[in-house]
Symmetry: C2
């Protein structure tokens, strides 16, 4: 019965990939427009490909190094099993592939969207959104496909192990696959984030502010690089990122299920399969939801938004209902369905709160715009202030979500720790179950943005530009909701990974030949040891200086990482500014529109800058957890992870919201308020927006990955930490 149910998982994943292919083919059939439009699209496509090739080279070296290390750990001192290095590799590969396919689709779709917008708004929306859906479906499809393949393969590989232990070793091995995805995602987000913002900031500072030419003006040498950046950062980077979130939440929850329900082989298998099945049902409902998105020919922007919302709401409501069905069929406690619903609702609240704090339709962003009347300094101050205040609602929702999803699963008994933590994981899976469609609305944004760029550069009429602007603006709102999901799920997944770390410790101890845990003078057999036993054994309490020290380092890591990426953008942007200034100065014809600027030189500068600058922060994220483990042991690592998680989550919300609010405060002024375009108020908001660029598109989203990557690294290195630590 159970394995029959499991079949839904690979079937759903193949369904997702098939529809992705179908949407992709359909998009390709559309006309790419005038020769000028094709040329520009090709420029952008080539630039994006060139960048990704460079990035994959760097990432390849990192993967090679880590694979050798993992292989040595397995075949040498035997601190890991022999599947780890390979699982790690495939995770990285598929995460990269998801991003690559999404980006390829996006670069193919932008000119076609612009061309369709020449006919009608609705046609433009359809192409952009269905192209975004390719990404959404590829991410969830590849994710579940990998998970199902590994699940089947490892079932055979670990066949010799005892029933209860087998599932624990299997699920913790699969987590390594998550580390591969995280590592790839980190480089993609950091590298792509630096690329896109260096180009954006550079283009804005010289083009908009100094030369006074509009955004996406073909006379701006950095404008192609800016459009390339949207694709490598907001599409490829986001794809890799959410691929990792998606798999991470499912895998961590499966590992927690294997542990919490180890008392019965059947219950254990069901608990491991539950997150996969929820995800599978989510895929099917996401596909249905995607088909629900359509509008009249004369739809207003509000109707467009409603149409997108209808698709997402449909998927969410039915996932909530069907999940209870899955839980029932698996013979699990029905209250666990409450954890799924909790996850869905928390994601929704965070999305709404993001919208409230970052949309120019509400007071907070309008106030930031008003503060521009006293100059750029007060814009920056009030953006930072509002961003910091905006952390309250997301934190409180997550906090209530943690308690509720824990209590639902634990049958309202706090001491039922294992099942309670499983409930938190299930909430994360619930939140991400609609990823197929939410990511579609998210990936749609940069496609619409690029379509607008293409329309501007290829000199299409004002009317077309108005339509692409409408699409773009819609994308900003959906992007805010998407970011809420990404951050919220990172926090819950981070907690689930934290608990999985304990599981991995158990496996590590078994591997080293330990069979019992000595807690308070009592010997507890390892397979019976609870989470609380491990906490006592390793003294992971708040009076242990190692835990406290770990917490400080974790908080610091979040800031250090942001600081490094912020400065990286600053440096790379300065090089871009210098180059754009040089071109304007050397070739006088450019600004007059008589001479074509050297676009590819700017792409090259961003590429080089991103390559160089992404290495240090990424390496630190991988190395610090290892060092902390080697010096402080388990207690220090747990402190590090929790410190990084709590500070990183709040910092990420702050940065994302401050950046979004500055962006829309500028848009608010551009819509004609407070003096409108070209006024001093507008100039001040442009400065705010520029400051916010690396906040919301580089440092902020990278933090989501940092939180999870640090946990993943610790999980993979758990065997080493168990075998050796200095203090």
């Amino acid at each position: 019965m159970e394995m029959t149910l499991f079949l839904i998982v690979p079937v759903a994943s193949i369904l997702a990939l098939s529809f992705a292919y179908y949407f992709y083919r359909n998009m390709l059939k559309q006309d790419e427009g005038t020769p000028e439009m094709r040329k520009i699209a090709k420029h952008v496509r080539d630039g994006a490909n060139a960048y990704l090739k460079q990035q994959y080279k760097v990432v390849g070296w990192v993967f090679l190094t880590l694979c050798i290390l993992f292989a040595w750990m397995a075949y040498g001192p035997g601190l890991q099993n022999k599947w780890v290095w390979f699982a790690f590799l495939t995770g990285g590969f598929f995460s990269g592939l998801a991003g690559f396919i999404g980006m390829r689709t996006a670069t193919m779709a932008s000119a076609r969207t612009a061309n369709a917008a020449r006919d009608s708004l609705n046609l433009g929306l359809k192409i952009a959104f269905r192209s975004g859906a390719v990404m959404g479906l590829v991410v969830v499809g590849l994710g579940l496909l990998d998970i199902s393949v590994w699940f089947v393969v490892l079932q055979y590989a670990f066949d010799s192990l005892q029933e209860g232990e087998k599932m624990i070793v299997l699920t913790t091995t699969m987590l390594t696959f998550g580390m591969g995805a995280s590592t790839q995602a980190l480089f993609a987000r950091v590298g792509g984030g630096i690329f896109t913002k260096a180009a954006d900031v550079g283009a804005d500072l010289v083009g908009k502010v100094e030369a006074g030419i509009p955004e996406d003006d073909p006379r701006n040498p950095a404008t192609i690089a800016d459009n390339v950046g949207d694709n490598v950062g907001d599409v490829a980077g986001m794809g890799a990122d959410l691929y990792e979130s998606y798999c991470g939440s499912i895998l961590a929850t499966a590992a927690l299920g294997a542990s919490a329900f180890h008392f019965s082989a059947e219950a254990q298998l069901n608990a491991v399969m539950a997150p996969m099945l929820i995800a599978a049902v989510g895929i099917v409902l996401s596909i249905l939801g995607i088909f629900l998105v359509r509008t009249d020919e004369n739809a207003t922007q509000n109707q467009l938004l409603k149409s997108l919302g209808k698709g997402i709401n449909f998927s969410s409501v039915f996932i909530a209902i069907f999940s209870f069905g899955i839980i029932y069929m698996l013979g699990m406690d029905l209250w666990i369905g409450g954890s799924i619903v909790t996850g869905l609702i928390v994601g929704l609240i965070i999305g709404k709160s993001t919208e409230f704090y970052t949309s120019q339709a509400f007071r907070p962003t309008q106030k930031i715009a008003e503060s521009a009347e006293t100059g750029p300094a007060t814009v920056v101050i009030s953006g930072i202030g509002t961003g910091m205040i905006s952390t309250a609602i997301p934190v409180l929702s997550i906090v209530v979500g943690i308690i509720l999803s824990y209590l639902f699963a634990a049958q309202f008994d706090f001491s039922n720790v294992g099942v309670g933590l499983y409930g938190i994981g299930i909430a994360a899976v619930g939140m991400l179950s609609t990823l197929g469609i939410t990511l579609a609305t998210d990936a749609y944004g940069p496609i619409a943005d690029n379509a607008g760029g293409n329309a501007e550069m290829s000199g299409l009429g004002e009317e077309v530009r108005v339509r692409t602007d409408a699409l773009d603006s819609l994308g900003n709102t959906t992007a805010a909701t998407g970011k809420g999901f990404a951050i919220g799920s990172a926090a819950l997944t981070g907690l689930a990974l934290l608990a999985s770390y304990i599981e991995e410790l158990k496996v590590g101890l078994l591997r080293l030949g330990n069979e019992t845990l000595n807690v308070g003078g009592e010997s507890i057999p390892l397979h019976k040891a609870s989470f609380v036993d491990f906490m006592h054994y390793y003294e992971v309490n708040l009076m242990n200086p190692k835990v406290l020290v770990g917490l400080f380092i974790g908080s610091m890591m979040a800031f250090l990482f942001c600081g490094l990426t912020m400065n990286a953008v600053g440096r790379a942007a300065q090089k871009m500014v210098a180059e754009v200034r040089r071109q304007f100065k050397t070739y006088k014809g450019i600004l007059k529109g008589e001479e074509e600027p050297d676009y590819s030189r700017c792409v090259e500068i961003s590429t080089k800058g991103a390559q160089l600058e992404m290495i240090l922060p990424s390496i630190i994220a991988i190395v610090i957890p290892i060092i902390v483990g080697l010096i402080l042991g388990v207690a220090g690592v747990m402190g590090l992870l929790v410190g990084g998680l709590s500070s990183g989550f709040v910092l990420a919300v702050f940065m994302a919201n401050a950046g979004g609010a500055w962006d829309n405060a500028k848009k608010y002024v551009e819509e004609g308020n407070l003096g409108g375009k070209g006024s001093d108020v507008h100039k001040a908001t442009v400065i705010g927006d520029t400051v916010g660029d690396p906040f919301k598109d580089t440092s902020g989203p990278s933090l989501n990955i940092l939180i999870k990557l640090m946990s993943m690294v610790s999980i993979v290195m758990a065997g080493v930490t168990v075998a050796f630590h200095l203090l």
Copy 2:
């Protein structure tokens, strides 16, 4: 023998107060200069007094409310002893008094310093520094005086208690005194911080940027308010703040000593007295150090700095030596002396690192200035980036300091938790033992700043202004070191308070009639229960969702608090900008220098703004720990405190350093680099500096207090939390 040794404590405190009076009288004897200088000084003095009066009114109501609450808790359900409300009151009173005396001295000294600078640089330095010393000595003198009086009074009051228990109840009751000081300090820092930055930002934005008149120009209506702000924020606010740090570290350490050494009445008394004695010796050596500060008539700025350094170094080295003597005389383990030295060194490293990241003599700040070549946006980005990176060294030093001071005291055994935590407290006391002289160098800064303002406004010659500028610039460097001490000591004191919280729980449980703690099926008598037993009993481990939830809320609190104070400054500054613009517009004669602006109206606006805006953040800091305790109980509170401590510490370092670096990047340009004054680069750095103002002078320093106040509130409310919590 012991009580004879104790006599050193009140004697040292009276010595400090006597020398403070002596310096104060000597300063008053100096000539206050021309009638114009006297008039301006009086303006500033009146403004500062008017502000403080308003502030004390608001604070009075808060104290009244809390006192009634505490009195009810004691006389009603008996959740506290009857001394708490009164101890709370005296702590608040003396904290306010220390700030008031410091401010009174500063407002008296500024014109006299300016006048002395007409004669010579050295004379100016001497007056400013000795006036700063008044503040330093008053803070440490009043602190130790209160502590000694309470120590003696409570010895009699609790005479009926058992020997071992008596000292525990006594020291935890004395901690309440710390809560009074913290509450006063928070209002002083937040209110003063909002006042000073609203005036500063307002004065700069309209005066410097729009009207193009220099800083402190008498034509600027906000200039008096700006100078008043230095006094109420940087002097009175800082005095109350450090008074609280100083007492908090001594009292928390005493409480930990009472608990760790409860096995022997003699050892316990010694451990309680040790922090007081270290502080007492520190006072004597600080006074000697102050007399060492003197320079030649023709001293360069570097020589001035060396002279100040000589005083501090002298005090530090001898405190380290003498502390070992105290430890020896008390018959304690000599290794505990290592904890004192650790504290001193960590304070020094944090100070040096602050200097490196914020002084224009080093690359980080120069790079921020260079990034101004591409406009204000890149200045802000690189300032934030550098500020975030600058958190690494302070965190790593604190982390190493925690481990070392713990291990020294615990005789290199991690499981020796009680004594180890006592060691961390001792490190905090060590770090703050030189406060008498470090605070003197710190309080000297705003006096020199005001002297410069006075010289400018009263039209003294260029030569005098150059001298006061040299004094002011020196003050910026010493202020950086001072901030390092304030932040570092807050982190260590926060940890000590965290441990004291457990002590308070013990007292609360005893009061409710409990005699044992049930840990893992075993009944442990309360007086024998260790820190680890409490951790197990309340499940304060990292797999408890209540702890995790508390950590998230704690991190969020740090950000929310900063956001509220940042926005408060933004709002108050906008009102100031509107007023200055109004005066310039209505009275055309002002800018021509023909008409005197209405200074007092600006003072009034800042006063009202600060009064209004300080309430919400301060109330939140007091109320949230109470609510968390009522809902989540002990585990949630401990999570909250640790989350607030780790995130708050890192955030505070970030904000202080980013703000300092922006300030000096501007100074670097003003010194003639990168185009010098009036260039576009300069304008961009002015915007950076304005953004940094609330960072470094409002939100950042207030965080230090928030960290400790949340602990203090939890300590005072521990009895309630023990008696009732929802989950």
